[in-house]
């Protein structure tokens, strides 16, 4: 069975083609193409600009994916698209393309929950069969465990997502958004070593990031580190090694990035560990864009090893938003007989992970 997956819930538009061989063999990724809308340093992305970007790229990417997969439209069994959650305008631009393809080619539509897409793709790629899932991205922060046909949310952020916290701090420090802000924060953090005191907010299995963002933003301002000119001056200070020696010297932007990472990732590992202890699982799967962060993976690995378990993570092809994960989760649902009629294909900005009936798992 063959599915096209279409994703565009945030600033990436991705098209994937997934084959589930009829003989029950291992699923094959035939194509997985993506294009990212990148805003200038110091700025975030606006939904209308992202939607325009997606509209401009979606047809090109579908054609490219079909070419790379060496399949024709006749081979396709269903069209899977992200129904939510995500930003309204970008979601709609992709949903419209999916509906059009469904009508044009007379193929059934499958509306997919973006988070469930991440989880199913993570399970497929890593082979983790029943992990506790940490889903971390610019829009979501959730700790999830499967139980009785649902992906149940164990813990989540009470305010902004961890990726949003990192993205917004990158803007404060004028860190480039290319390839993505979290990556550049991670690179800068490698040059930092002074841990500044930031709030640490874990409540039960939930956490909160807005207070931390306000605190670290405030520090950046009071240390004179926010803005473009300041960024240049600080880079010189970091690269000259002047700030290296004295542990009590004024913190650099690198120190702030280091401290922010150490704090928020410790919170994420902590709530994940709590969920693991609760459900008695030894596997962790990290999905979502922030999941490509090596420091987070390293910390999670240390925690899992100390519990006698292991961590599963995917590389940026699969953990950053992509089309193939939508195809994978969509095909699983399609095989149980699930379809989304045209009349119910409206997308939704709010679509909880635990709303999906996971009929394809025991």
């Amino acid at each position: 069975m063959l599915a096209i997956g279409m994703e565009g819930s945030a600033n990436k538009v991705g098209i994937g083609i997934m084959l589930h061989p009829k003989d029950g063999g291992a699923p094959k990724v035939l194509a997985n193409v993506r294009h990212t809308y990148i805003s200038p340093p110091g700025e975030g992305f606006l939904p209308k600009d992202v939607a325009r970007h997606h509209r401009a790229w979606v047809v090109k990417l579908v054609k490219q994916a079909l070419r790379e997969a060496k399949v024709s439209v006749a081979d396709v069994d269903c069209i899977c698209f992200t129904k939510g959650p995500g930003m309204g305008a970008p979601l709609q631009s992709i949903a419209i393309a999916a509906r059009m393809m469904s009508l044009l080619w007379k193929k059934p539509l499958i509306g997919v929950n973006h988070c469930v897409g991440h989880i199913e793709m993570g399970r497929l790629i890593t082979g983790a069969d029943n992990p506790v899932v940490l889903y971390v991205s610019g829009g979501n922060t959730q700790v999830i465990a499967y139980s009785a046909k649902r992906y149940r949310i164990f813990g989540e952020t009470l305010d902004i997502a961890v990726g949003n916290c990192l993205d917004r701090f990158a803007r404060t420090l004028h860190i480039p958004n290319d390839p993505f802000p979290g990556y550049n924060i991670e690179q800068l953090a490698k040059k930092g070593f002074r841990l500044v005191d930031l709030p640490y907010v874990v409540k039960g299995m939930d956490c909160s990031f807005s207070g931390i963002l306000a605190a670290v933003d405030g520090l950046a301002v009071s240390l004179g580190l926010s803005g473009e000119e300041q960024a240049k001056a600080d880079d010189e200070r970091i690269n000259s090694g002047e700030a290296d020696r004295d542990p009590d010297a004024r913190p650099t932007r690198a120190d702030l990035c280091f401290s922010l990472q150490e704090t928020v990732y410790a919170m994420l590992v902590e709530i994940t560990e709590r969920a693991m202890a609760h459900v008695g699982s030894k596997q962790v799967l990290i999905v979502g864009g922030v999941g490509s962060n090596e420091r987070l993976q390293e910390m999670m690995g240390t925690m899992a090893r100390d519990r006698g378990g292991s961590v599963f993570a995917t590389d940026e092809r699969y953990c950053i938003d992509n089309g193939i994960m939508i195809a994978q989760a969509g095909l699983e649902a399609f095989k149980t007989g699930f379809q989304t009629p045209l009349s119910e294909s409206a997308c939704t900005q709010r679509f909880r992970t635990d709303e999906v009936f996971v009929d394809w798992r025991d």
Partner: protein, 246 residues
């Protein structure tokens, strides 16, 4: 997968003869059975080992904060005459391991009895196996029994909420204050309740309805319950209403 080995015990328990026995490994704490300062009386030893995944400065700060908060909570309740295990000894900067920092520990009275969580799990497993052979009245009786247990659990936690850390031996004794906030704020109490509700819902999909019984007990034995439960409604909605965009 490597077999799990708990971290070495912090000082002075590396000297304890016979060595303490590991009972459970929670997310943040290990619970051991050992003796009190009188070798003929048993005691529970709770260790919060250092967490090598986090920055040592952050690790010490959090570990200390939490063990001290839990210990203070126990002492406060003992003074108020609430049934909790008494604090016998404490060290928030236990030494040990390669780094010299071995985590924090507290030694408390040993209380005999099954943990409510285990009682619930056993009940569920038993029901799953036997419910088909029970008639309507028997099933109703079984459910009443568990509802009563949860009802009393709600009552026990009313003054000082503590998810799942309750012990049952005919009466309910709070044994785990690791998550208790020792706060009189509705917000904190409500979040604690919410965490418990979801914990029951996530691990006990068949007992979700039983949470109501627990709330009933809570309502009946805690005079501030009305405003806390009202806040619980808000907390429940918070996750659902929140735009998942950040």
């Amino acid at each position: 997968m490597a077999d799990y080995k708990p971290p070495p015990l912090p000082s002075p328990f590396s000297f304890t003869q016979p060595a303490p026995t590991l009972l459970t490994q929670g997310a943040e704490a290990h619970l051991y059975k050992t003796v009190s300062l009188d070798p003929s009386i048993p005691a529970a030893l709770k260790i919060r080992p250092s967490k090598p995944y986090r920055h040592p400065i952050l690790d010490r700060k959090l570990t200390r904060q939490r063990i001290v908060q839990e210990a203070r909570c126990l002492v406060k309740l003992i003074r108020e005459g609430v049934k909790v295990p008494a604090l016998l000894a404490l060290d928030w900067e236990g030494q040990g391991g390669d780094s010299g920092w071995g985590g924090a520990w507290l030694l408390m009275e040993w209380i005999e009895g099954p943990v409510v969580r285990v009682v619930l799990e056993q009940w569920e497993a038993w029901m799953k196996q036997n419910s088909s052979s029970l008639d309507e009245a028997q099933r109703a009786r079984e459910e009443d029994r568990v509802r009563d247990l949860l009802n009393r659990m709600g009552a026990a936690g009313a003054e000082m909420w503590t998810p799942m850390g309750l012990l049952w031996r005919g009466e309910i004794v709070i044994i785990d204050l690791g998550l208790a906030s020792q706060s009189t704020q509705d917000e904190d109490r409500a979040v604690d309740l919410y965490v418990l509700e979801r914990a029951i819902g996530s691990t006990h999909p068949r007992s979700e309805a039983l949470f109501d019984a627990l709330l009933q007990g809570y309502r009946e034995s805690y005079k501030g319950a009305t405003s806390t439960l009202k806040r619980l409604e808000d907390v429940r909605m918070r996750g659902r209403k929140r735009s998942m965009l950040g």
